[in-house]
Symmetry: C2
Subunit: 141 residues, 2 copies
DNA sequence: GGGATATAGTTACTTAAGTAACTAATTTTA
DNA sequence: TAAAATTAGTTACTTAAGTAACTATATCCC
């Protein structure tokens, strides 16, 4: 029962703050922000989506998704597609959106590759398990 | 060379988002937010501090600290103390601030204890090492 | 001593995410 | 089938963090 560094959680927060900061610097090349990347990435995988689908997948509240999608629309990276359910707003990537995805993917892949370069897969797996466990714990309570 | 789940970083971000969200719910009992807690915690440890000291310790930009300290001042949890250097704003906890620290500490300790309850210390240590390594990597580049 | 440089903090503006309360459309159910 | 409940999305407001540009003070050093 070793004693845990009291900074354990503080470090987690610091990491994610710095991570998004540095990744946003890189993503300027592709003309989008990290928050937009997450949605563009989702749309490339699943072709179309509603805001609620994105919200559930990313585990981010709906108003946040509304805003980010709105900015993607202004940049003409996504477009609306017809839907039977008049409440929902079903969207997909435009051609410009797909191009931006390709550019951003290279940036993100390279950024993440460099970060993980010389970490052992044991440590990475342990970390992944720990974080998964912590997320589950948070969602229970 | 196992392939890493592409959601590795996404999970990190999701964890910290949910963590601060849930902790903020708990901290309502003490009447402060997580961002304020970090500063109150620092002041309890080090007695006095300037905004730059706090900024460096928490690795958060100065304008963010200015704002959070301003709110702590409004709630009368901190007070200004004299300094020879007229540029700096040296602060310390008020008595009310110390009381809030005590309340918040119980909330935070219990919250973190429950989260870590049944995680092995191996996994925790591996996670801590990984995060430390990742932070260093981010700060190099 | 005085100009150049560095440091502490603030202001204005932006991105990101959250809550609460709402509208409009759809589905359930009595 | 009509009222009740649920679902999708938006609006308004708040917390949190960032950048750029600024003021005021202190330090360096020629």
């Amino acid at each position: 029962m070793t004693h845990l560094d009291p900074n354990f959680f503080h470090q987690q927060l610091q990491f994610t703050r710095t991570f998004t900061k540095k990744l946003n610097e890189q993503l300027k090349k592709a003309g989008i922000f990290h928050s937009q990347w997450l949605i563009v990435f989702y749309l490339k995988q699943f072709e179309t989506a509603t805001l609620v689908e994105i919200s559930n997948y990313l585990n981010v509240e709906k108003p946040t998704i509304t805003r980010t999608v709105h900015r993607l629309e202004e940049q003409e990276l996504i477009k609306k597609i017809p839907s039977n359910d008049k409440r929902e707003r079903r969207i997909m990537l435009t051609e410009k959106g797909i191009k931006v995805f390709e550019e951003a993917k290279q940036v993100v892949d390279e950024f993440e590759r460099k970060l993980l370069e010389d970490l052992s897969s044991q440590d990475l797996n342990a970390t992944e398990n720990t974080i998964k466990h912590l997320i589950e714990r948070l969602q229970e309570g």
